[in-house]
């Protein structure tokens, strides 16, 4: 049996990558701030605290395994996003509000 080819440094092999999301204050959404390496979710949360909230940037943290995120591919950008460009009727401002409609 052959050994699979190994890429990256020892630490990259042994510690998976995590994406970090910080909520700045109550009422706001969690925002992606970056990524880090950690051996497991609990340590990822602590590393996230140490790396990304040293200056009181947040009141809540999420960490997600990078491999658990399904992302759109740059190759698909044209077919994914460009078709929305000329659909002005998808914006509410496209429509004129009839005068006799109340509470709109």
């Amino acid at each position: 049996m052959s050994t699979p080819a190994v890429k990256g440094s020892a630490s990259e092999r042994s510690w998976p990558l995590w994406e970090v999301f910080v909520r700045g204050k109550r009422g706001l959404s969690h925002v992606h701030v970056g990524s880090l390496h950690a051996p497991d979710a609990e340590m990822a949360l602590r590393n996230g605290r140490d790396v990304y909230t040293r200056r009181q940037e947040g009141v809540s943290l999420w960490v997600v395994r990078s491999t658990d995120i399904t992302a759109s591919s740059p190759d698909e950008r044209d077919s994914f996003f460009d078709p929305a460009a000329d659909k002005v009727y998808r914006h509410p401002t496209f429509y004129e509000v009839p005068e006799d409609v109340e509470y709109l």
């Binding site: 630490s11 880090l36 390496h37 609990e42 340590m43 602590r46 590393n47 140490d50 790396v51």
Partner: protein, 256 residues
């Protein structure tokens, strides 16, 4: 307000606590760029800086209370080895990561109980620094606990090395919980707390983590460190001070 006797007791007491924090902060700073991961560099640097922050307030307070008017810098950079009152645990040389986590587990477990008790100190500055620091050291204790769990209950090699580290730290633990004359005087004056009264809770935390990490507490060590509170230090202390103090001594009064 506290009377003159209590002031001097509090001054000496702040110096002991401040020296522990300062020297361990200096040791932790040595990890920057040497931790297993850049994330851990940050964590250890944050913890070291928390400790230096505590030391700054404690040394400043000591200089105010003892009537000499010495500043935090005077006390940190212009005292010699025999005038430092930290325990031997914090001055020991940086070793492997397992040793650092074992040392941090004991030291933060001690500091967590210490600051929790000092919140009611009659010295308002001491009570103030305790209220702020108790949250910081709770995090330090959590950090060390998390790593001891992972290394103890990790691979066979990490288990062996973590167990070995607990054994190497063990001879320096008793000194932390010893009722030295300064702590006794400070406790009597209502500004401090007897270190021996912190043992049960600190031991409870450490032993719980050790057990959960599938490790065992080492047997009673055959020797134990003594003398730090009286200014009698171990070999690594002089080298640590040389590194920490030489810039301030080469350029007295320099600022940036």
């Amino acid at each position: 307000m506290i009377d003159a006797v209590a002031r001097l007791a509090a001054a000496a007491y702040c110096l002991e606590l401040g020296d522990d924090a300062l020297i361990y902060g200096q040791r932790l700073g040595e990890w920057i760029s040497r931790a297993p991961q850049i994330e851990e560099d940050m964590a250890l640097a944050n913890i070291g800086l928390d400790l230096v922050g505590q030391a700054r307030v404690l040394l400043t307070r000591s200089g105010e209370l003892d009537g000499t008017g010495r500043t935090e810098d005077d006390l940190a950079y212009f005292r010699d080895e025999r005038q430092f009152h930290n325990v031997h645990l914090v001055e020991q040389e940086r070793s492997d990561f397992g040793f650092e986590m074992a040392r941090m587990l004991w030291f933060s477990a001690y500091q967590r109980e210490l600051y929790a008790a000092l919140v009611t100190s009659k010295d308002e500055t001491l009570a103030g620094v305790a209220a702020k620091a108790v949250k910081e050291v709770a995090y330090h204790r959590d950090h060390a606990s998390q790593w001891v769990l992972r290394l103890g209950d990790g691979t066979s090699e990490s288990h062996v090395r973590m167990q070995d580290a607990l054994g190497r730290v063990a001879p320096h633990v008793a000194e932390l919980f010893e009722d030295d004359a300064v702590s006794v005087a400070a406790a009597e004056a209502g500004v401090g707390i007897l270190p021996s009264s912190l043992w049960d809770r600190a031991f409870d935390h450490v032993s719980r983590v050790v057990r959960q990490a599938t490790l065992t507490l080492p047997a009673e060590p055959t020797w134990r460190s003594r003398g730090g509170r009286d200014g009698v230090h171990s070999r690594p202390m002089g080298y640590l001070l040389a590194e920490m103090q030489h810039i301030a001594r080469s350029h007295p009064g320099a600022t940036w």
